[in-house]
Symmetry: C2
Subunit: 334 residues, 2 copies
Amino acid sequence: MSTGLNVAIAGATGAVGGELIRLLEEREFPVRQLKLLASAKSVGKFLEFKRERVRVELLSENSFEGVDIALFSAGAGTSRQFANRAVACGAIVVDNSSAFRMENEVPLVIPEINAEDIATQRGIIANPNCTTIVALMALYPLHREFGARRVVASSYQAVSGAGARAINELSLQAKAHLQGEKYEPEIFPYPIAFNVLPQVDIFLETGYTKEEVKFVNESRKIMHHPTLRASITCVRVPVFRAHSVAVHADFERPVSVANARDVLAKFPGLEVFDNVNLKQYPMPLNCAGRNNCQVGRIRLDSAFDNGLAFWVCGDQLLKGAALNALQIAENLVR
Amino acid sequence: MSTGLNVAIAGATGAVGGELIRLLEEREFPVRQLKLLASAKSVGKFLEFKRERVRVELLSENSFEGVDIALFSAGAGTSRQFANRAVACGAIVVDNSSAFRMENEVPLVIPEINAEDIATQRGIIANPNCTTIVALMALYPLHREFGARRVVASSYQAVSGAGARAINELSLQAKAHLQGEKYEPEIFPYPIAFNVLPQVDIFLETGYTKEEVKFVNESRKIMHHPTLRASITCVRVPVFRAHSVAVHADFERPVSVANARDVLAKFPGLEVFDNVNLKQYPMPLNCAGRNNCQVGRIRLDSAFDNGLAFWVCGDQLLKGAALNALQIAENLVR
């Protein structure tokens, strides 16, 4: 190769795809050629990259010839259909979907936590679930210091986690509601405007949603902590962008708020925003569009002997998806 | 007395006051005379009760002569100022505020749980915090069956918990936001439209909010369970009415989802709405205006050995405030 890499984005016209294109430029990723791939209905659209218009092409078996890095962000079905083909063509795939995350030979990576796992890749590297990423950005440094034993969490997930059309649905539905009109839900099972839905993703036989099980399984894999006890209630809230997670955790070793704050403040990609006297705490409205996650409301957890409670927010399209994927790609380049 | 009781409502023009007036009529409470009391700025307004217009009077030291039952719903400061005066005049006070809840000689009552405590009253009976009521309506029957050891919860609290002006603020702020305009917060410390705030009530030195500490202390007192370990993160969400709480609890005795459902289904004032195959679960939008609380998402908690996770919703102006207060008054009448 002369200079740079041939990069393909599968799902280029989606919410995460758009952020990937922007971040490739902003972070000066060494792109030689950028291929924007999508399904038939988006073919022929043009998207801007480095002040040039790039035509969206059809995602197909033949899309990956000569591609070095393929960033997949088009859902698990699409990843299952095309990721192995991309690998066969010689590309390394960074996959945003849940398709391969729990497969043994696929590393599941948050670079600040387990970048070393990237070296074990055999063609596919998985990007974790957005809620898992946001929660672990604060839980992991605490785990490293105090040894996490048990985690109980609840999420407050923004609609943009469900894609660009979900953002539109919240906006139009809220407008209709305020005018006393009806707006039937299409993306979500029930109205999301001025409501909260205790369902993200489909239900499994245990009564948990897939999203909730992802949090437990992915946390164990990423932190290399197979015995972690964890549970979560995942809830969609009428917020456009940035997820929040209330985390209550019990640790092996004695904890203190001062130690916790020290450890969190040193962790890359995380900001401690925690001064309740000044009413400073993370909020989705302030974390939208921000690369770093924010943690606050750090306090001893009154339900556990060595417990800490905290509140973490992060933009799930950035650190929860596009940024994390690109950080993985940057690690590959190094 | 010939027929009925003389009833006073202190704080008659507020959101809870309005529900109290409506419920007194709907539930055919034996009212001989209704006194509507409020601060100076509401004096002279008329409110309707049983198709008659009742004039709002100034709440003062002299308001309680001849009053049998005084329902207070005007904040802790007002209760501290006037409740003892009402008692001195011979009234029994049912107080919605936090002023007396943790005082030893004041029973704190959810009638479905500890109606028998009403008999210990010496003039004041306290109505619990709204989030506590909603959570305990599902936690208590499970505690009675399995013995609650540890509870970790997160709340999703509607703006109406902060009063009638908060409802208006969410509405106008959401409208402004959708039109790309600004609307400065007045009731809440930050914008609540399309945001969530991990703060309800003021902060204490421990890093918990007063609302969060209320949940722990009031749960112990109401359930007569002083050794319960509990913690909660209380969060305001852009919902107009009805609180939701995600509860994760660990019990002394082995639990099963089937047993839990049985026990919950038999509890008065609570509906089990829990069929995930049909996407049936409680939501604030459906619980607004409903007397009963709803519980769903009942599942084994993967973080505990004898754990259950569930999701409970309730209208905090009704069961969380006015209805519970009136139920206490109904118990007094019997």
